[in-house]
Symmetry: C2
Subunit: 386 residues, 2 copies
């Protein structure tokens, strides 16, 4: 079915919706596991599917550099190349070009940079990036944006908003907002920038909204600023975005961040945090964080989270998972990743159910209270001051 | 059901049998994936199960040191601790004490050694090792043996056989050959030693056979000697073992080794090779080895092995797997491991079918011919002299 989005229920600022794509129907709010290089780290496609995820990320900057757009196109697009039956979204690589590559030049025409892999020289124009993403073949692709970090000098932030708007318009002229390269629909989302300046965020959102994108993202947030700043900027922006379009907060965050975002009308989020933390042995439970290497879990013959349906919690104990991490067994990171992704999906499922029931705030308060109490108690047991 | 073994068919020296345990029925010949520390590296319990494996290994030396026998016992035994529904076998740790630990003293009473993990001092007596294994709780546990390597001075090899026989007898006096600590039957296999001396191997096999173990292993082979030596020693030994007991060749080998072993009446094998090679990006196919990092596979949009039913071959291409290895994605080793274990299980399934059909030699010749031709052709393509 063609791309679409409808809001089914509101509750205290949060919204429950349905995102439709030719690769399936996704209930929102949704957390999207990150598969930067065409693989979600530590889990198979089946493992990801079993967490309930139906929409995962790739990154155009990484995939363009390796394995290259041509190979992915020859494979029949990204879904085929990576073996994923659900929907996919690619970030344009704007963030990565500015944060990861050696940036050589930024101009109206785009950016020139050196690859972080082999130092080779590349140019990303807004037209080329959209064409690469079209050929990579995700269901949702992101407009090519200019990212400057927070804090930014006001002049730099203005320039970043100018470029982001200009590049969005050029990308649209090149490929449009909806296209079809592999027999299914692909759509483009615009990305709001503006660093820490709400008036610039307002301008960016207004300019992009005028271009009628099928969806909108809040970019360049959660890059070191305070949470208060993040939420102030997010609120200023979402108010200006069309209510019937999905809103995607990029690169966030902890379970509590997810809930805070949903409370502000965010529909989609992604972050490497659950997978990266899992690989380091930090997992989440309804009762807060569990740092698996802690001696407290040495003899803890209970699941990570007694209410979780993931393969780790259904079959294994904290003591076994701790043993795997202490023994440097790959299975530790693998199971922890499955758990964290399942947990994130569960948080979103529970949030959605609460929104549909019209009781988002009550659910949120209970979740946050239990989660933070668990964190405090773990910290106290570990003898750490909170 | 209680432990049992029956030979169902013979074909040109090879045998097809059924091994029964309280954790299920295993068709032999069987390859057993190695889960040294209570985890098969790179795969979940479900992944292992999906390769068709129903009997996996653990190692008493490793598990005794970490996480310790007490924790495993508190969990209700090894199956419960690791979350594996099939059958399990533990090696006694004889090999590891002699090859991995800092050996301090070997006497009639056992060995004193320092842990390879933290240098702590430990003593393994034959009685204690069998008791540890009983408490760890595998369905099949191995007698505590003395391993000296190949080549060994004759005097050292004699001493190793003497100790292996003495320790086997002491282990039997301590725990018997069959016991039940967790509500299911556990049995002990004897391990034949004797380094490269066939008369010593003969003596070891004869002495152990007199003790009426439920099964027998050929130990201390494939430790650097030529393949001819391995097979000469294996043949000299198996001829002396009771025909109605399973024969387990420890620590071997390549797909062709498996077939060579089965041709000599071996029923069970284990080896880290398929899992270790997988983590390095070397996988096996019916057409020989595939070294996934090779540029030859950069655009190879076909499965590793077109006849394989594993999750990697059903869903992914060589080009994608190569991309995962070049990108250092954990998923590369994970999928390669699932594949290699599935492939090893497939080799054994095909061998068994051929034995039952009375056509083992014909199947073996065809398999070896195709496999080695594929290896030659890959080497030629890679410009390597064979």
């Amino acid at each position: 079915m063609p791309f679409g989005f409808s809001v089914e229920a509101h509750s205290q600022g949060a919204r429950a919706g349905i995102l439709t794509t030719d690769h399936g129907r996704i209930e929102t709010p949704v957390f999207m596991p990150v598969g930067t290089q065409g693989a979600v780290k530590g889990v198979t496609a089946r493992d990801v599917w079993d967490t309930g995820a139906r929409l995962i990320l790739g990154n155009a900057y990484h995939l363009y550099l390796r394995p290259g757009v041509d190979l992915i196109a020859r494979a029949g697009g990204l879904h085929q190349f990576v073996g994923w039956d659900g929907a996919m979204l690619t970030d344009s690589g704007g963030y990565q070009v500015f944060s990861l590559a050696s940036l050589m030049r930024v101009g109206d025409d785009g950016v020139t940079f050196r690859s972080h892999i082999d130092g080779s020289l590349h140019q990303f124009t807004p037209e080329a990036v959209m064409e690469y993403q079209a050929r990579i073949g995700a269901d949702i692709v992101m407009s090519f944006d200019s990212f400057g970090g927070i804090p930014s000098a006001r002049r730099d932030a203005e320039r970043s908003v100018d470029l982001t708007t200009k590049w969005a318009a050029r990308g649209l002229r090149a490929v449009g907002t909806r296209f079809n390269r592999y027999g299914y629909e692909q759509v483009v989302f615009g990305i709001v920038q503006g660093a820490e300046y709400s008036d610039l965020r307002t301008r960016s959102a207004t300019e992009l909204a005028a271009m009628d994108f099928p969806g909108y993202a809040l970019g360049g947030l959660s890059v070191g600023e305070s949470k208060d700043t993040t939420w102030d900027l997010a609120e200023a922006t979402t108010a200006l975005l069309p209510i019937n379009r999905p809103r995607y907060l990029m690169g966030m965050g902890t379970p509590l961040d997810l809930i805070d975002a949903v409370a502000r009308g965010v529909d989609m989020l992604d972050c490497v945090l659950p997978t990266r933390n899992a690989r380091n042995g930090t997992v989440f439970s309804r009762d807060g964080k569990v740092v698996l290497r802690n001696a407290a879990y040495a003899n803890d013959l209970v699941p990570l989270d007694g209410e979780c349906g993931c393969i780790a919690c259904q079959r294994h104990t904290r003591a076994y998972l701790r043993h795997l991490f202490l023994s440097n067994e790959m299975l530790g990171p693998m199971l922890a990743t499955s758990h964290n992704l399942f947990f994130y999906a569960d948080v979103m499922r529970a949030a959605r159910a609460a929104i549909v029931a019209g009781q988002f705030d009550a659910w949120r308060n209970a979740f946050v209270e239990r989660f933070t109490r668990g964190d405090r108690e773990s910290a106290a047991r570990a003898g750490v001051e909170t």
